[in-house]
């Protein structure tokens, strides 16, 4: 009987720690450290879909991973761009900053050109220009 209690406790601990390993979902309203509001984000794919906007000419370079953290009171973002084609791709990107009310927190950024080698990943990172920026979108367009 005593062993049964111990087994149950071990199982409960294991289950508890198993749930705790679901990284990025520890804080409500955040996924992988990124603000998500009341959106339902269950995976990295969901997060990327929610945060990435394609404008103009579509590109085959796609963000595959995105993580956020805080630098003081500023939002810091890392986004991994993947080019799985056999040719070098040129894209441009910018971040759009949104405040708590859903309004623009900063003026439109300049497009930044980028070259991504064939079958390669490239990490772009940025820091929010102001602490009013509570959310963001990564905007991508092809330059081919």
């Amino acid at each position: 009987m005593r062993y049964a209690w111990i087994s149950a406790a071990v199982l409960a601990t294991a289950l508890g720690s198993g749930c705790a390993t679901k990284k990025g979902f520890e804080v409500p309203g955040q996924a992988f450290g990124c603000p998500i509001g009341d959106q339902k984000i269950a995976s990295m794919e969901d997060l990327v879909k929610a945060k990435v906007v394609m404008e103009g000419s579509r590109t085959t370079v796609i963000p595959t991973e995105m993580r956020c953290s805080r630098s003081g009171d500023l939002l810091r973002i890392d986004a991994n761009l993947n080019n799985d084609s056999k040719t070098v791709k040129r894209v441009s990107y910018k971040f759009r900053w949104i405040d708590r009310e859903g309004m623009r927190a900063w003026e439109e950024e300049a497009w930044k050109p980028l070259m991504v080698y064939d079958n390669s990943n490239l990490m772009v990172n940025t820091v929010a220009p102001t602490n009013k920026a509570a959310d963001f979108r990564l905007v991508l367009r092809s330059m081919e």
Partner: protein, 195 residues
């Protein structure tokens, strides 16, 4: 006689050129001031915007900026060590604007604006203005940190290819103790090929 033999041909050619010039219509349109500009591979608006944004964002995360209670900065010279003319003041102005809007720093009057600043104080102290509304001498606030930097370039050119590499370096120096508190770089490479 021999000269006059070519006159009709030259006249026809001149008329053709004049017609062509006349027919070439000129069109002016507004463009995206924040779009990627690749007209030539000389230093351009995209380079200026990219450098300013990158430097300002990086500087905002410097420990002295994060920890400080609105530290006061002054802008010093950014040396142009490239082979082309670059208005480095435009770069520092953009960095200053972005930082100022970010609300984490304040700027004291810099060397280039000092003459206008003291000139205005002197004017108000000239005796023509109401004393109680005039600013007093000795009230200006000195900066705690100075921002300076340089831009360098490496240009390589062969027959059909020109490669330009820019490196912009910016530093934040503590004026009181002379310590380098923050420094960062932004690199840009542009290659132009013909044909």
């Amino acid at each position: 006689m021999s000269i006059f033999r070519y006159v009709p041909r030259v006249a026809v050619l001149a008329a053709a050129v004049a017609l062509a010039a006349g027919c070439a219509t000129e069109k002016t349109r507004y463009g995206d001031e924040r779009g990627v500009e690749t007209v030539t591979n000389e230093f351009g608006s995209t380079d200026l915007q990219t450098i300013a944004e990158s430097m300002a964002r990086s500087m905002q995360t410097a420990p002295v900026i994060v920890a400080g209670n609105l530290p006061i900065l002054t802008v010093q010279e950014v040396k142009n060590r490239t082979s082309e003319y670059i208005d480095t003041r435009a770069i520092t102005d953009s960095i200053r604007s972005e930082l100022q809007k970010g609300g984490k720093v304040r700027f004291a009057v810099d060397q280039s604006g000092l003459k206008q600043q003291t000139g205005e104080i002197d004017r108000q102290q000239s005796g023509y203005y109401a004393r109680e509304q005039s600013v007093e001498r000795g009230q200006m606030v000195g900066a705690q940190y100075r921002m300076e930097g340089n831009i360098t370039s490496i240009v390589k050119q062969v027959r059909d290819t020109k490669d330009v590499y820019y490196k912009f370096n910016l530093q934040l120096w503590n004026i009181r103790n002379g310590l380098l508190e923050w420094s960062d770089e932004k690199e840009i490479r542009k290659t132009t090929t013909r044909g």
